[in-house]
Amino acid sequence: MNPATAHAIEAVEAHRAGRLLWSEARLREQALAVRRDIVTLLVQSQTGHSGGPLSGADFGTALFFHELNVDPARPDWPERDFWHFSIGHVTPLIYSLMAERGYFPLRDLMKFRRFDGHLQGHPSHHDTPGIEVSSGSLGQGLSVCCGVALAARLDGHPRRVYCVMGDGEQQEGQIWEAAMFAGHQRLDNLCGIVDYNRKQIDGDVEDVCGVRPLADKWRAFRWNVIEIDGHDFGQILRAFAAARAHVGKPTVILAHTMMGRGVSFMADDYRWHGKPPKPAEGEQALQELGTSFAEWSARLLAG
């Protein structure tokens, strides 16, 4: 898409009350806060996933602070866009984004996965305001998003639908059922984002059960495919704009990322998929992120 078209669309969309449309610089700052949240809440909970939340922090921030038309104060605002993480295990990221965006107080993050908190290990509609549909069993989310996109089309509703998936998750056949359906139905109000961090629980995705060539797959399922560096805000925002502008096909953004991004000893290491940093590790991670557990947890508890 040429930049002029993109600009025109941005202008049309800007009126939509719930979009923040933050600049790259501001997003970069916010993403840092999200990474600090993730590490801090994991240090606190001592249970949960580190790797995926950190790889998705940049496009996640862009989604919540630029792209999405939502009103966190009214999670059921009828005009809202629909967002859904099919990878339910990245709750540290999801909850940080939600809290930072204002769905609930930051201090709630310190009760992640606790019996007396409302932040379940995997996203729960029943427990957390703003979670539209529960997830945690991989591969189910894109179907849900097809249903929402279809409902929007039936109602002539302008909402857009965003579905975050994992690259290991691409091994689930239900994804391809949904992909085939969305391509067939030309659901161009639907945008998928794959956190292409090349890792899953048991190691490299290409060793476990290779998903390559992933772009070819999506194209063969009749999607518009955009490949980007998922840590480059310029590319992320352009991809979102292009997805928004694309007519006649759903768009998938293959966001090439790095698992554990932002913390040196987690970076690109699948062993950090599902475990939290121990307190000392967390301290080191937070130092690398320019803060400390004491400082950042105080911020959260005050928020």
């Binding site: 509609h125 549909v133 529960s134 189910q140 179907s143 849900v144 249903g147 996109a149 279809l150 359906f181």
Partner: protein
């Protein structure tokens, strides 16, 4: 206030799935939020009536039951009232995880029509004869389950499912089956109906076995035995009060279902009975084996699901009831 049902010698037969299909049209007329999904089985699940009448609210998903369950969930999350239709074997098994996590855990307003329940599916054979649905659906929290007995009850169950907020699974069959109720017969979601009174034992049945139970009652009457017949169409939530009352008042129970014996209707009743008022029970059900091809009547006979099997079970249970 219960209906008392006496059967004529010849009972009209009609397909339960037709009751489902017709009710969907009525719902479509009443409520623009009602949408219908199907997995490449439009005619045989009889959602074809809806498809013709409301093509714009009819969604063909193809052979992809997991996806269909998820799409229905998304439609519900967006305020629609989706009914999906496929064979019960695929609704309950192929999409079990989607039913559990996406639909039931979120508690979404999705209605599932499981066609082709039971051995009476006939010549298609075991894979297509859904006989594990009650056990599976009953185990999942938030999910309700109705197993209507005939055309009219399936019609009403479908309407009731739409009125109830939350996920509901409706199980119905393939064949023409006797119409034992009328349009005016009362139907309350969550309540069993006493279809005939009796003192010696209670036969609790669902689906087509309600007809067999009524026939069994006639045969028992000839032997001087009066059997109460309960149509327990709503298997979940379970009408425990009614079951307890039957146990208390008649002291013996026979359950009858076109379903595996493990964890089905009989299991549900047994769980209620031992917790309130333990009485002897006998189960008329499929005895933990897969189905097979054949004519529906042959199979009902071979798998022990006819009135005479209920009679035999009643006699066994009465013997146990009187033996100290």
């Amino acid at each position: 206030m219960s209906a008392t049902i006496t059967l004529p010698a010849q009972v009209e037969k009609k397909k339960t799935r037709e009751g489902f299909g017709r009710a969907l049209v009525a719902l479509g007329e009443q409520d623009p939020r009602v949408v219908v999904l199907v997995g490449d089985l439009t005619e045989s699940t009889m959602v074809s009536f809806f498809a013709e009448r409301f093509p714009e609210r009819f969604i063909e998903v193809g052979v992809a039951e997991q996806n269909m369950m998820g799409i229905a969930a998304g439609l519900a999350a967006a305020g629609k009232i989706p009914f999906l239709a496929t064979y019960g074997a695929f609704a309950s098994c192929r999409a079990a995880d989607q039913l559990r996590v996406t639909v039931a855990y979120t508690n979404l307003n999705v209605k599932i029509g499981g066609a082709h329940g039971g051995i009476s599916v006939g010549p298609d054979g075991a894979t297509h004869q859904a006989m594990e649905e009650i056990s599976i659906v009953r185990s999942i929290p938030n999910l309700s389950l109705i197993v209507p007995c005939d055309y009219w009850e399936t019609y009403k169950a479908t309407l009731a499912a739409a009125r109830h907020t939350g996920p509901v699974y409706i199980r119905f069959g393939r064949e023409d089956v006797p119409v034992v109720t009328e349009e005016a017969t009362p139907f309350t979601f969550g309540r069993g109906e006493v279809f005939a009174e009796g003192r010696d034992l209670t036969i609790i049945a669902c689906g087509v076995m309600v007809y067999e139970a009524l026939r069994a009652r006639e045969a028992l009457l000839e032997r001087g035995i009066t059997a109460r017949v309960v149509d327990l169409h709503t298997v979940k939530p379970l009408d425990r009060l009614l079951i307890e009352r039957c146990a208390w008042e008649t002291g013996a129970i026979v359950t009858a279902e076109e379903h595996q014996v493990n964890g089905g209707l009989g299991g549900a009743v047994a769980e209620a009975v031992v917790r309130a008022h333990p009485v002897p029970m006998e189960f008329v059900a499929v005895m933990d084996r897969f189905g097979q091809s054949g004519k529906p009547e042959e199979l009902m006979e071979a798998f022990g699901l006819k009135a005479r099997h209920i009679v035999a079970a009643a006699e066994r249970v009465l013997e146990r009831k009187t033996r100290p």
